[in-house]
Symmetry: C2
C-alpha cells in the first residue's frame, strides 16, 4: 500500500499548490481526509464560451470565456467581441457538470463511492481505471448537467438576443443544480468513514 | 457461472423480441457472440425533440420527435406544430451519442472492454456496477457527442430559422460521428476474442 500513500502525498501537494474551485473545496477536503481515497482533479461545474475550428476538434478548442458562476448575456457578447475576427470558427456556449476524479485504495471502496455518487445524482459516474494489482481504482464522478449550444460561425452571430437570454438562464440553472449535487454528495460522504 | 449464462439467455431473448437500431445491430451481434459478454441495452445515437415541464424534470420529459438519422429543419417545425399548445413547457433539441450497456463475466474482461471502448472514442465509458461475487460487471459505453439546445418556451419559438439550420447541421454531424465510432469499435472488438 506504500505506492498509494506516496501517490496521495503527491496529489495533495499538487492540490495545495494549484488550488481548486471554491465550491468544490469542502468536498475535496472531506474525501482527502479519508485514508482510502484521494482526489486527482476536479471542477465545480462551469459555463464557457469556446471557439472551435471545426466541430469536434475539441483539442483545438480555444476558450474565449470561462465562468464558475452564473453569468449575464452581456458577458457573452463582451467575450465574443473581444475575440479577433481573423480567428474564424464556430462559437459554442457550453455548460458542464461538476467533475471529480477520485483514486480509491480497493475495488470495494471504489464501488462504495460509486454507489453514493450515483445516488447523489452523479448519474454519469463510473470506474475509469483499475490498476493491475487492484491497489488503485479511479472513479470519475460526473453529473448530467450539460449544454452544448452552437451560437455563431465565422463571426456571424446566429442566436438572437431573446434566445440567448433563455439559453443563459438555462445554463445558470444547470450550474446551480450541479453545485446542489456537490452539497448532497458531501452530506452522504460520512457513509464511507 | 451458471447465473451469467441464464441472464445472457434472457437478455438475448429480449433483444430478439424487441430488436435494436439498425446501425448498432452488427456490434450487438459481435459482442453477444463472445462467451464472456452480453448486451443489455443499446441506442445507436439519436436526435430528439423533447418537451420538459421544467428544466431537469427529465422523468417527465415527453418526446415530440425522435430520429436515428440526420434530420431537416422542416421536421423540427412540423413536430413542434403537431404538439397541442395546451401542453406548455420548454422544448429542447437534443442529440445523444450511441450508448451500449455490456455485462461482462469478470473484472478482467470488463477492463479489457473498457480500454477498447475508451480508445475507440467512447470517452464517457465506465464500469457502472460490479456484482458482489464479481461474476458480473456492467460497462456503459458512451461517447461525447451530445447537444442540448433549448429552442422554445410556452409555445414561443425563440430560435430563428438560420440558427435552427446551423443547430440541425451540427446535430446531424454529431450523429454521423457517433455512428463512425460504433464502426471503429466493431473493428477493435476482435481483440477481445
Amino acid at each position: 500500500m506504500r505506492v498509494f500513500e506516496e501517490e496521495k502525498k503527491r496529489a495533495l501537494e499538487r492540490l495545495r499548490r494549484g488550488g481548486a474551485d471554491e465550491e468544490v473545496e469542502e468536498l475535496l477536503q472531506q474525501i482527502n481526509s479519508l485514508d482510502e481515497f484521494f482526489t486527482t482533479s476536479s471542477c465545480s461545474g462551469r459555463i464557457a464560451l469556446i471557439c472551435l475550428p471545426e466541430i469536434g476538434a475539441k483539442r483545438e478548442a480555444r476558450f474565449i470565456g470561462k465562468w464558475h458562476r452564473p453569468i449575464r448575456k452581456e458577458e457573452v457578447f463582451a467575450a465574443m467581441s473581444d475575440t479577433p475576427s481573423s480567428e474564424n470558427g464556430d462559437i459554442w456556449l457550453i455548460a458542464q457538470s461538476p467533475i471529480v476524479h477520485v483514486a480509491c485504495r480497493s475495488l470495494e471502496k471504489a464501488t462504495a463511492l460509486l454507489r453514493i455518487a450515483l445516488e447523489a445524482g452523479f448519474k454519469y459516474s463510473g470506474i475509469k481505471a483499475i490498476s493491475k494489482d487492484k491497489g488503485k481504482v479511479v472513479v470519475e464522478m460526473m453529473s448530467t448537467e450539460r449544454m452544448d449550444v452552437p451560437l455563431a460561425t465565422d463571426d456571424v452571430m446566429l442566436c438572437n438576443e431573446a434566445h440567448l437570454d433563455f439559453i443563459v438562464s438555462k445554463a445558470n440553472f444547470m450550474l446551480e443544480r450541479g453545485k446542489g449535487k456537490l452539497k448532497r454528495f458531501c452530506y452522504r460522504l460520512r457513509e464511507l468513514e
